[in-house]
Assembly symmetry: C2
């Protein structure tokens, strides 16, 4: 069996100018980055107004759901039914690429390419965000070092540093040691780049002016008098914006079947809003009849945030929602060990199915047409497939079997046909909450209506932060809940569809640039670590530049 | 008077494909990065064997010497005398761009373009080096965290982390705090990216295989038993090489007069060898009749290192050497305050001239033809010009007045004509030392024959390191002396041409990948700080992407 990278390397790609032409973009409207990548010049002058399809999933498991693979294969399927389609996806983060097997470019015959480039530095967006973030860090500490006119409390610098690497060693640090010429000693820490507020800001900005305004508003520290200090206070809004002048332009690549794919931005879906940039989504909508986008992790995280945070910023809600599930993942939710997933087990499947059921009902609440895509694995049995079909039907939605990993676009033709019909249905969008509701009300609505929990408990720190947020009038922003992706609860080990649980809020972080309040729950980390055997150990490149070991 | 960026923005550039054509490179041999930048695919298939001209200078001063500007203007001058020429330069480091006024793209009418891109992320080479460096850091700490099979002593991890930012706050840190799930507590620190050994390795590699072999050799730590640990021992050579697959390709841009310029790599000239990549220099030699390259800082640092470290790696020595000087800088060397540089002062000029004199004699030692370029400033008087001309003549070399800042290539036609003649002269290259000499002998030769000092003093740490280096057979490598750029001595305040001084060696660092021993002297820092008023404060970008405040 060929590996993903072998399949990718064996495919003859079209020149990116040809891909751009399919979208009505000529050579002057794009900037080539080699032969197979381009950035889109802004503003984009195309005049489509395509339908928007959101792909989300059940809670991710170790069994793998293949959501990105499905999104890519679905994009290719539209070509097979003679419909014009563009995909919008997030960019992979290098940290996980080096850490655990798996970039974010799909798999099998449903991939975006060139995967080696997309999974590494691509067009330099993440490095630009890292540099902008850490330049701001250096400017804050430099301000304190040179007299501290703004009266910043070094114990209350909220702006941590970032690297695009899984580096647990940098989670908690002491910096500024070495005497008076080397800064002011203080505690600090590093997050992974995708957790940077700049990543969220970039993904939510509609243009360069919007980006600049948002960057200026970012809260970075408090004074000794508990007054907030922003980027604008430091006078470096222009410099940060300038560092992001190219990063804000969406990137264009193609699938192995030459469907256009905008890949841009990559905020984490637990600690940020978890969707590709709205500029990429808008680019897809404005240049194709069908635009497909994917939200990170399960529908409780990326899906909810797409609908409550991203949708208002795009100014358009999805016309249809796809929930991806696999029989293996649901069996795991039903209590089967990973090692025994190959054995038929209808009971466990039905025991785990309520995880899918809750996601279905959650998405239906928003008033959008919902369909479930069952991503086929060779271990699936007829009995299992039949049982799951019936379960899904009982939830009032349709299940469509897909097999894009081995068949590419052909493996999702039925799903594409179904979606074309769904997108023409009349429907009304029902937001989960209004921004002018109380912060606690907004959190409670997500916890009770989406997670299925019964209670929200704030730490004493979070209670204090809530008062501060209210005092400064920042409470009218949406809430961005940071929670483990593996469970509806804030405990990664509680699979399935638990009930009567409490969500523990440990911190509330106002993100004034992104325009939401991050609600930190449970033990969510903003800097992952590398495993015992990192993927980096198996990577290689020969003298001709041929890469192996990248997934 | 127009600013540099205004002059640059007002110039209509040629498409980079046209520039490549001048060098005999077709569209298949380059990778476009937008319309005005490209990377060169390796290996390069051109068949010129051009003359190599090295541009170096007196010790840099606050008055400014304009060495890069002269290099660029000189490249343009060759066009005016109908000679085919290509320039090879280093890439600017973002840290200084954000810190002190000044990228590294020349000035006035002698600039490389697009300066906004070159001064910011360009084609992503520095971010790739940063990421590769810090990925290695994370992999080292991850190895220690997960059982430490290699028995690495956390107190002896020699591989620090890097950021491409002037961030004094990160010079001395404690990392790995936060309990047993967050790594092993230890001391660490951050250098600026240009100080990374990976930067030196990239600049000295002849191809991807050479790069990989050098990366594998890099020394990163010692075991509890004092055994060296390399990248190859960690098993991550392939992963690091793969992260640099694009960074190793030279970048092509143009001057404002459309002369091809290869801009690639940027090691510091005090703590590393300080020249652009040898792949860029070779690209210029192999595709033009005259190749001009620049060495960082004064001839005592970049010049010496070009001749003793870079030349053997290129396999070709320069056919002529240009030393850039200005009357203002020499007056400053002669004791004039910066505020009084506009006033005529022949005495001070002649008092400072021996700084130039020593650099001339130093370069002549290598056996190459030497010429001095006097970069014109409006404050220069006729008396001063005449006095300096005579001083230089007495040194046995010619002085040529140049004015490329205001005239572009036309301002260096005389210099170009002179160089054409010089390059045809017969000459023999005399290396300063042989690699198989003793380490102390090599250091002494540089100190006595180049710096003009009388003695070398090793700290007790350096003495211990020397023994270790000898024991492991690493003593046959050239020495790369890290010294302040402002003085021939290791004290930045001693200008002019001091005599009878001691050079204090505080540390000897074997850089097995780069292939040299770094000799740390005086107080050289590997992480600069930002000034009280960083350049970042004055930068801006408007809604149309127009940048101001970048120099």
């Amino acid at each position: 069996m060929k590996t993903d990278i072998e399949i990718s390397q064996a495919t003859k790609l079209q020149n990116i100018n040809e891909i751009a032409e399919k979208l009505g973009l000529n050579e002057e409207q794009i900037e080539n980055y080699g032969k197979y990548k381009a950035k889109i010049n802004l503003p984009m002058h195309t005049n489509k107004n395509g339908k928007l399809i959101l792909v989300t999933s059940i809670n991710p498991t170790a069994a793998g759901e293949g959501k990105t693979t499905l999104t890519i294969g679905l994009g290719d399927a539209f070509k097979h039914i003679n419909k014009n389609c563009a995909i919008a996806l997030r960019e992979p983060s290098l940290g996980p690429v080096m850490g655990i097997k798996g970039g974010a470019t799909g798999g099998g015959y449903a991939q975006v390419a060139p995967m080696e480039d997309i999974n590494l530095f691509f067009t330099g967006d993440f490095p630009a965000i890292t540099e902008a973030h850490d330049t701001l860090s250096a400017l804050i500490d430099n301000h304190i070092h040179h007299g501290n006119k703004l009266n910043i409390d070094p114990r209350q610098v909220e702006w941590k540093r970032v690297v695009d690497i899984n580096d647990r060693e940098l989670r908690h640090t002491i910096i500024g040691l070495g005497g008076r010429t080397s800064g002011v000693p203080r505690e600090d820490g590093f997050d992974i780049t995708v957790a940077s507020e700049i990543m969220a800001v970039l993904c939510l900005s509609n243009d360069l002016s919007d980006l600049k305004q948002r960057l200026g508003k970012m809260l970075v520290a408090y004074t000794y008098d508990q007054e907030p200090i922003t980027v604008a206070d430091l006078g470096v809004t222009g410099a940060l914006t300038l560092l992001l002048k190219d990063a804000i332009k969406p990137n264009l690549v193609q699938t192995l079947e030459h469907t256009p794919a905008f890949i841009h931005g990559g905020p984490f879906a637990n600690i940020a809003h978890g969707c590709n940039s709205i500029l990429a989504t808008k680019a897809a909508i404005n240049s194709a009849d069908y635009a497909i986008t994917e939200a990170g992790f399960g529908a409780d995280l990326g899906g909810e945030k797409f609908l409550d945070i991203t949708t208002p910023n795009i100014g358009k809600h999805p016309d249809a929602i796809v929930i991806v599930a696999t029989i293996r993942a649901l069996k795991l939710n039903g209590g089967v060990n990973k090692a025994e997933l190959d054995n038929e087990n209808v009971d466990a499947l039905l025991k785990g199915a309520p995880n899918l059921g809750r996601h279905i009902q959650n998405m239906k609440q928003y008033g959008q047409p919902v369909v479930v895509a069952i991503n086929k694995f060779t271990s699936d049995t007829d009995n299992e497939t039949k049982a799951l079909d019936e379960y899904i039907k009982a939830q009032g939605v349709t299940a469509v079997n897909t097999d894009v990993w081995s068949k590419g676009g052909k493996g999702a033709i039925n799903l594409a046909n179904k979606l074309v019909k769904m997108c023409d249905e009349e429907h009304q969008f029902n937001p989960l909450y209004e921004n002018n509701e109380e912060v606690l009300t907004k959190i409670n609505k997500v916890v009770k209506k989406i997670y299925g929990g019964s209670k929200v408990e704030l730490s004493s720190k979070a209670k204090k932060q809530l008062k501060y947020i209210q005092k400064h009038g920042w409470d009218k922003m949406p809430v961005c809940i940071a929670k483990t992706q593996y469970s509806f609860t804030d405990d990664a080990k509680k699979l399935g569809a638990p009930k009567n649980f409490t969500i523990h809020v440990r911190e509330l972080q106002p993100r004034l640039g992104a325009g939401f309040i991050v609600v930190m729950t449970g033990k969510v980390l903003t800097m992952p670590g590398l495993p015992t055997h990192p993927a980096a150990l198996d990577m290689d490149i020969d003298q001709n530049g041929k890469i192996t070991g990248l997934f």
